[in-house]
Amino acid sequence: MNKLFIDNVLDLENVVITEDTILIEKLNDVSKDVHIYIDKNVCLYEIAIIKNSKNKIIYHLSQGSNVIINKIAIDNSDTVYIYLDGENASVKINNGLINYYNNTYTLKIYHNEEKTTSNIVNHTINVKDNDFTFDIDVIIPKDKENINSNQDNRIINMGSGKNIIKPNLIVDNHNITANHSAYIGQFDKNSVFYLMTRGLSYETIKDMLAVAFLLNDMDLQNLKDEVTAFVKNNI
């Protein structure tokens, strides 16, 4: 499998993925427009560890291609477009975001072909008193059938900031499966009490539950320890 590593903003360019690829990004303070084209039947596996970004990223998926995005980010205001342009194309997005300032993460998924799939997990911990918004649109046109789309959006609010989730399903066809959910709240108080009865301090529990909440659905391969430390150091 091809492996790409980007730790310099200047290296973040338009790219065509022609073979199965692992893309690892470690970037700070980035604001760019990037197109990523994925060829037929090719898989892109992305792990992004990012601070302060306001990118516009457009993924173009061809027939049978598969994109898995694991993003762990602090203060993210990206706008991400996913164009599922070929039959059987699929995307899985796991976002684990930590928010300190005012940010809006925008995701627009266009199921432009039949038998396409999108599975989205958007989790954010809003640490201080600023605002965070998830603006998520899934668009399924009238003439496209056998589409599967799922989105799970959750924000844990640790301060007094305003949080908004817009989990939009814009669906014009009946022969599809689509789910969306949204939750804004705090760490589950029963979980906190249970762990405290075992002698864990609230600070330890907060770290533990934050890692679980942000990274649970991610396969981070050999970056797991690094990413876990990244989360704990930034909560």
Partner: protein, 252 residues
């Protein structure tokens, strides 16, 4: 060991425990029995400092230290353990991570990985629990019985001085109940100063873990205290005939 004096506890809506008192000495096993909604589980959570309840009066002391102002984790670190009636599952937090952290929070030096795995393997084997538990999230996909066994697994590893068993037998089949109780009794033999508070509707569990005292809790108050035989009378006659049973009425 544990002393509760004149404890009254309420939620925003109603008073639950009223002037409740109990003394449990080192090595003693006490049972608190009562029908649904009488305040038994509230008692267990209040001892651990749950924020769901307001202590309006009274003191809880443990080994002569007042617990009222301590946080839940501080109380647990003093050696109090609650086996929950309905243990929850926690997604994304593995048994291994949580238990090792909990053990280390009680020690001056962290437990070595080998020692931890050895202790965990031994405890899971004694409880006849499946392999692979280490890397599973807490109680994820576990049955009621597996969750109860996991509670006792945690008890064995955390080595408490005072154990609260809240409706231990609910969700356990008879074979699992025997295994769990054998493990608790073995722990008590190895740690004879450990005290136990059993909270239960039914006397069945008391056949396996024999209490020295049985207290009947009705409407937030202990109305009668007796020996094990009081539990057998409850099984025979129910709670409605409590005044005709053997034992000491609290207002006597």
């Amino acid at each position: 060991m544990l002393s509760i004096k004149n404890l009254s506890v309420a939620t925003k809506e109603k008073e639950i425990l009223k002037n409740f008192s109990i003394d449990i000495n080192d090595g003693e096993i006490h049972a608190v029995m009562g029908p649904n909604g009488t305040g038994k589980s509230t008692l267990s959570k209040v001892i651990l400092g749950s924020n769901d309840y307001i202590v309006t009066s009274g003191d809880i002391t443990f080994n002569n230290e007042r617990l009222n102002d301590l946080t839940t984790d501080e109380r647990a670190k003093r050696g109090i353990f609650l086996s929950f009636q309905e243990p929850i599952s926690i997604e994304g937090v593995t048994n291994s991570e949580f238990l090792r952290t909990a053990i280390n929070e009680r020690r001056d030096t962290p437990i070595g990985l080998y020692e931890f795995i050895k202790e965990l393997d031994s405890a899971t084997s004694e409880l006849e629990m499946p392999d692979g538990l280490l890397h599973r999230a807490i109680n994820k996909g576990a049955s009621g019985g597996e969750r109860k066994k996991n509670e006792i697994l945690q008890m064995k590893l955390l080595k408490p001085k005072f154990i609260i068993l809240d409706e231990l037998d609910s969700g356990l089949d008879i074979d699992s109940l025997k295994i769990v109780c054998e493990n608790i009794n073995k722990y008590l033999q190895e740690n004879p100063k450990t005290s136990v508070l059993i909270i239960t509707h039914y006397p069945r569990i008391l056949e396996y873990i024999k209490p020295k005292y049985v207290h009947i809790l009705l409407n937030g108050q202990i109305v009668k205290t007796g020996g094990y035989e009081l539990a057998t009378e409850i099984e025979k006659n129910g709670y409605s005939k409590i005044n005709t049973m053997d034992g000491k009425l609290e207002n006597e």
